[in-house]
Amino acid sequence: MSLLTVDDLSVTFSRRGRRPTHAVDGVSFSVDAGQVVGLVGESGCGKSVTSLALMGLLKRAEISGSATFDGIELLSLRASDMRDLRGSQLAMIFQDPLSSLNPVVPIGVQVTEILTRHRGLKGAPARKEAADLLDRVGIPDPTRRLKEYPHQLSGGMRQRALIAMAVACAPRLLIADEPTTALDVTIQAQILELLRELVDDQGTALLMITHDLGVVAGLCDDINVLYGGKVVEAASRRPLFASPTHPYSVGLLGSIPRLDAPRGEPLTPIRGSVNDNIAWTDGCAFAPRCDHYTLACLEGTPDLTETYTGHKYRCVNPVTHHEAPVTLPESPAAEA
């Protein structure tokens, strides 16, 4: 049984005087212990909202469906029980390390407060453990850092500190929401490597949320591609990159600039933007931007088709693999 099973999760936001937004629309996936699963998509596709819903951090939203963590149904958990789980069994790393840290509290306190809350450590033993954690995530001179404030650290170190806080209690599931987007490329690689190490050492399950396929290629075992709040393709890493089936995934892969492409070759973006969607009820939300679009795409929501290899796609006119051969893009963390 998987550690985390998400089944038909839907999140709807209603604002006064506007049509309700279906940020997440019937999303299902699962994550096993020691596995890295990716949620991929452009901004606005619902990936962050999914993670916040899982952590119980969404306010004023209607959530339906099921999310089982180790047999416990997260969505119907009492607030106080959820609070006990957060930080200890489930942890999250956020996108912007500067705004995600309290500017007026020293880093050390922001780490020890988790240790105090979930592991009962206080005073000197807590500080020692905090310094060890900072050391483990690769922050030099950790004992001095404990007294420093977030604005005194560099971007990469802040993210490492956040990771230290997330893994302080050895959580079984770690959710990372675009952890490298706000960082320089070289730091990105280091952070990803750090995450991989932690996963391998502790057997943590990692749910990786990102729009960057390079990150995904190097790190994830299974990948779910989201569009307009729905899963449009789900596959393991190699099949996804070898034979992407949904036109959106094909577009994503095709739009990555390649160092080995011939000079002068134009970049191929996906035309339009996320705002050019139509509602899923009217047809495939991606249709307005799709090169493969046919009239059949406008007859209601396409179903999720599953091949015998477990490769899923939501498309009535998918790309067959000989049309778009793609080799696995190079990525610094792809050593495995």
Binding site: D276, I278, A279, D282, G283, A287, P288, L295, L298
Partner: protein, 318 residues
């Protein structure tokens, strides 16, 4: 060929349906929409409307002459004999036998005048000072920055005094009259508007579109008047509304301290309140009527001003 156009048409239909949601996203239109829905804003607007109507038509609608002590013999202060509500005087009589209802109606006009003129004074002078200051700081060279510093020091000096004391000093200088009230209260508002304008100008002058305009060679004065000023208007209008409320209350406080119009026969809510308070044990209504009027009017402007501020604040629109 036809299938292709069919596809395109169908798609166009559907995309048009979704983009309807995003129409009219200008900041003012959205703010107005938000305001129409807010009960506080509506209450405030209604109150203000009533007040303005009262002030405008008051003199034509008042049943009696507010200054004439028509029923003077019916009222006796020494014997604590006062006249309350009755058929011919809807709000009764004041301490000298004048019709209270008429006085309240005409008083609305005086109070509105004081509030509006004082705020206009503060706005105009404050805008000039702050605008010049801000424009010089943001767009000018060394001389501009010096001008800014000098003006701001001057404003700081005005801010060094609590508002009531500033108003009192000015009133002491000018002698007792209604005009004094207006000027004194107005001067107190000047630094607030000056700071606001200056801050807004400076913030705007650092924004990208101004940079673009300068790069294109647009003349500085044109940038200021055609671009920066319209964009600074939002918080200024909010402040003007709130200042009106403060002006009315401060005018009342100055009357209380004896600095208003010495001609006590002219009805003005602040003066009526100040005088009425002396009779609070025996005829509380004489203080209550003007007090409630002042409070509700100030509240009306404050409600609207606060609602506008929330509507225009990008951070709160989540």
């Amino acid at each position: 060929m036809s299938t292709k156009t069919d596809k395109i048409d169908r798609l166009a239909e559907l995309t048009a349906a979704t983009s309807d949601d995003q129409k009219g996203a200008g900041i003012w239109r959205e703010a107005f929409r938000g305001l129409r829905r807010s009960p506080l804003a509506l209450t405030g607007a209604v109150i203000i409307a009533v007040f303005v109507v009262m002030a405008v038509i008051g003199p034509f609608v008042a049943p009696y002459d507010p200054v004439a002590t028509t029923w003077g013999d019916e009222v006796s202060q020494s014997q604590n004999h006062f006249v309350g509500m009755r058929a011919e005087n809807w709000l009764g009589l004041d301490q000298l036998g004048r019709d209270e209802f008429s006085r309240m109606l005409i008083g609305a006009r005086q109070s509105l005048m004081v509030g509006v003129i004082a705020t206009l004074l503060g706005f105009a002078v404050g805008a000039a000072l702050g605008g010049i200051s801000g424009a010089c700081q943001g767009l000018g060279r060394k001389l501009g920055r010096t001008i800014d510093t000098v003006i701001m020091r001057f404003i700081d000096m005005m801010l060094a005094l609590p508002s009531l004391l500033l108003a009192v000093s000015i009133a002491a200088l000018l002698g007792r009259s209604l005009t004094t009230l207006m000027i004194a209260v107005g001067v107190v508002q000047i630094p607030i508007f000056a700071r606001l304008f200056r801050g807004s100008m400076i913030a705007q002058s650092h924004s990208d579109y101004v940079l673009a305009a300068r790069a294109l060679g647009v003349r500085r004065s044109r940038i200021v008047f055609a671009h920066i000023v319209p964009n600074s208007l939002g918080p200024v209008i909010v402040q003007a509304t709130l200042s009106l409320a403060t002006a009315i209350i401060e005018a009342a406080a100055l009357s209380f301290l004896g600095l208003g119009n010495p001609d006590m026969s002219q009805p003005e809510w602040g003066a009526m309140l100040a005088k009425g308070q002396t009779f609070i044990s025996v005829a509380p209504q004489l203080a209550l009527y003007p007090a409630v009027a002042i409070i509700i009017t100030a509240l009306g402007f404050t409600l609207l001003g606060e609602a506008m501020r929330e509507a225009l604040d990008p951070k709160l629109r989540k």
